[in-house]
């Protein structure tokens, strides 16, 4: 049945995925194993996105199905999904209130077993710095859609580096590209949500 969950989630079969998850919860299966199967499904979705079989709409839907699956498991079991791979602080930078891209990244990182601290939108540099320090984050993700986000990203990156030179900073969002990355001075660009997850996998999990 484990492959069934992976397959149903990967095919974005919402009802079937949730039915299968409910059945395994009711059967008393190990919640960590159910979660692992869901994560395999999400990993498969990531691969289908990379090969351009899936697009952003599919990632959004996949994140929703995954969240619901976790809620079903959480109703019966007290589990946080086991040890995390690491902590990522993420938010939309000051002056920008767009959150759709950020939310997709948050969903994918959570599905990838990262501890994600989501600071929301219009986040001041000092709030990123304080949260990264408090949560001992290895990676900070700066999101933004508008061009007014460029300077806010730059300022935030500089503030993060001044307190922790080793911290990794990634940027992402609608108008971000290599030119903006150079302007901001961050470590890398997550050209899309899946690329952001790959960056975390490289930096934190060494994959």
């Amino acid at each position: 049945m484990s492959n069934q969950i992976k397959q149903a989630l990967s095919d974005l079969e919402e009802e079937m995925t949730l039915k299968l998850v409910q059945e395994r919860v009711d059967a008393g299966d190990d919640p960590l194993e159910i979660i692992a199967d869901c994560r395999e499904g999400m990993a498969d979705i990531g691969k289908r996105y990379e090969t351009q079989e899936y697009f952003v709409s599919d990632l959004i839907m996949a994140g929703e199905v995954f969240k619901q699956a976790m809620a079903i498991i959480g109703e019966k079991f007290q589990t946080d999904g086991g040890p995390k791979r690491g902590t990522v602080v993420i938010g939309t930078v000051q002056g920008d209130i767009h959150d759709i891209g950020k939310d997709i990244v948050v969903n994918l990182l959570q599905a990838g077993n990262y501890n994600v601290i989501d600071l929301g939108v219009d986040v001041a540099p000092e709030k990123f710095v304080a949260s990264a320090k408090e949560n001992d984050a290895a990676v900070v993700g700066l999101s933004g859609l508008l061009t007014v986000a460029f300077d806010a990203m730059k300022e935030t990156t500089e503030a993060l580096r001044s307190t922790n030179p080793k911290i990794k900073v990634m940027i992402g969002g609608g108008s971000m590209n290599e030119q903006v990355l150079k302007h901001v001075g961050a470590d890398a660009l997550g050209a899309d949500a899946q690329a952001a997850v790959e960056l975390c996998n490289q930096w934190i999990a060494g994959e």
Binding site: L12, E14, M61, E64, G174, S175
Partner: protein
């Protein structure tokens, strides 16, 4: 050359470009709403509050930099206009946001599932009238839209008198596909869920909306001697965002029907397509040749467009917003040169992609115009 002759020269050049005929010089078209406020030194709050301020600032900026015309002329309060397109609340500088910050769409789930039933039972127009007070005060919306409509002839005349061409100069209300209205009202995330969970119902709702849009278009009586352009927007319906299965069902068929209806009325649809549409760019071949303008924002692959569609559609764009802000004059010069080379100087209207942003570097805007003159003379 007097302004009347100058206008005629520019108008003819733009018409030839749309018809994919050779021109003596690639036309230079302005688009930079918020940037124009910065250029003339008014705050965003002033720009958004005073309807005539956006006309004056856009016009003055176009003149100062030496453009041939403008994509969309200024005039009218931009936030109510955007609300009517997005069906979302907007954060307004000086009221909801700091005095000199950019307006922002405050996207949230305002439209509900019950609203779909209401649209099916009562039609789109009746729904919109009922819906708008949820996203904007009618005391703000109605006067703003009345000003916008009643001042269009004056604004048009002022441009012609000065020798400047407006591309989007038709009397058509800017129509967009039902997908975008619903996506704005429901919020993108919720609307995408709806597309997966209740596709048949969404299609029924879209068909009702489309009928109302087409009925409005059929009533139009376009004037002669104009470009007769009208902005037909797509942003959340981009190929990079929507899976092919959904796009083929909920996006493209609606574009085709709206575009065909506009063309039947002698109007030139300006396909203002934000985000990346490269995956499906070849589908533009399904639209009537030499009757539309593609107006992308710098994210769609122009080499692919030129190769697959360049023999039947002109392109207006597409200097990326990010380059205007974070790039250098040398970057802009190189981009314009390459763009002109791709298009071989034909079927190309040089213009900022989407809209030059508020924090565009003035030296980059100047470099854009200079490069247009340097490489665009055929």
């Amino acid at each position: 050359m007097d302004n009347q002759a100058l206008y005629q020269e520019r108008y003819d050049r733009i018409k030839k470009t749309i018809n994919l005929e050779p021109v003596d010089r690639v036309p230079l078209i302005f688009m930079g709403t918020a940037f124009s406020a910065r250029h003339v030194g008014i705050t965003m709050a002033e720009y958004c509050k005073k309807p005539n301020a956006s006309f004056i600032s856009n016009y003055q900026t176009m003149v100062d930099y030496g453009f041939d015309g403008v994509n969309l002329a200024g005039g009218g309060r931009i936030t109510p206009i955007l609300t009517s397109l997005w069906l979302s609340r907007l954060g307004v500088p000086g009221r909801d946001l700091p005095e000199d910050s950019l307006w922002q769409v405050m996207e949230s789930e305002v439209m509900t599932h019950e609203d779909y039933d209401y649209i099916l039972a009562n039609g789109w127009k009746k729904f919109v009238n009922k819906y708008m007070p949820r996203v904007i005060s009618m005391w703000e919306f109605i006067p703003a839209m009345m000003w916008y409509v009643s001042n269009q002839p004056r604004i048009r005349k002022a441009h012609i008198k000065g020798g400047y061409v407006i591309i989007n100069d038709s009397d058509a209300r800017m129509p967009t596909i039902p997908f975008e209205y619903l996506c704005g009202g429901r919020s993108m995330t919720q609307f995408f869920f709806d597309l997966y969970r209740m596709p048949d119902k969404i299609q029924e709702v879209m068909d009702v909306i489309l009928e109302d849009i087409l009925a409005d278009i059929r009533k139009l009586k376009p004037a002669k001697d104009r470009i007769n352009g009208t902005w037909v927007g797509g942003w959340r319906s981009a190929s990079s965002l929507v899976s092919p299965k959904l796009w083929d069902r909920f996006v493209w068929p609606y574009f085709v029907q709206i575009v065909d209806a506009l063309i039947e009325k002698g109007i030139t649809p300006v396909l203002h397509l934000d985000q990346d549409w490269s995956r499906d760019i070849e589908r533009l071949r399904e639209l009537p040749a030499k009757k539309c303008i593609l107006n992308p924002d710098g994210m769609t692959d122009m080499v692919k467009f030129k190769k697959l569609v360049g023999d039947q559609m002109a392109m207006m764009g597409d200097i990326p917003a990010s380059m205007l802000v974070a790039g250098t004059p040398e970057d802009i010069d190189k981009y314009v040169k390459e763009l002109i080379e791709i298009f071989e100087g034909q079927g190309l209207l040089l213009c900022p992609g989407c809209d030059a942003p508020i924090n565009t570097k003035p030296e980059n805007m100047q470099a854009f115009v200079d490069a247009g003159h340097k490489y665009g003379v055929m």
